[in-house]
Symmetry: C2
Subunit: 118 residues, 2 copies
DNA sequence: AGGACATGTCACCGTATGGTGACATGCCGA
DNA sequence: TCGGCATGTCACCATACGGTGACATGTCCT
């Protein structure tokens, strides 16, 4: 298994990876740049290997693309999969906020059968 | 560590948990109902204990609330944290889609310094 | 009371995951 | 050519996580 959406969700689950995306959203960076950002004890200090594994996860999820330039690797963020996941799943639930709120109201009122349930 | 947003992301990372939220979005269910849904080999067949652990993760993330009714437990979805996370993070990146696309165009064109980088 | 049922808890297991250090590759410049 | 730097890869470790079976609690019904 593990569809593309799955890879995106898994990739987004880690705060370090989300921070990487935040950085890359401001500007493309080389792997070394990213390592500096996280190695300076900013986020607890992760080594190069760790950062690269995170970037690799993001890359396999399609969230990060890169381009080789000599011995450097420029990493780019690709927000399209995020938007796709948001469209296909998140907004579905957010759209149900009203209904959800209704359920929660039933919850607060302690109804026996919270739905019409017919 | 592990802020509320973190818990939400972690909770959303698992496809089974997202499926649980999908079910609960349609209608509140008891734990037993959920177990039946996943135990009938529908999603590979997860036992009661496994389902309850998932529901517990969702509950600790604030995505599922519940109400006791006798020996039953009615589980309710709460989409508010999803919306919050979406607002604070996802939409930020989706908003940058244009800029992101610009970067990617630079990538495709093989520019040396993809940004103005000044 | 007593049994059946729904739920909750516990110890445990295999694997995935985050993280590391050591080493290999490859490109640039002297 | 040769050294140095940025990157990539490998083996390895500790822990978190998904999942299970066995057992405990509590509630409903007879």
């Amino acid at each position: 298994m593990s569809s593309e959406a799955d890879l995106v969700w898994k990739a987004l689950a880690d705060p370090t990876r989300r921070a990487i995306l935040d950085l890359l959203a401001k500007a493309p960076l080389t792997t070394g740049d990213l390592c500096e950002h996280f190695g300076l004890a900013r986020h607890g200090g992760i080594g190069r290997t760790g950062v690269m594994k995170h970037v690799d996860v993001l890359h396999r999820a399609g969230l990060v693309l890169f381009r080789r330039e000599g011995r450097q690797r420029w990493n780019y963020v690709n927000a399209v999969p995020i938007q796709r996941v948001c469209d296909r799943w998140v907004s579905g639930h957010v759209r149900d906020l009203a209904r959800s709120a209704n359920h929660l109201k039933d919850l607060a009122e302690g109804k026996r059968r919270p739905l019409g349930s017919g």
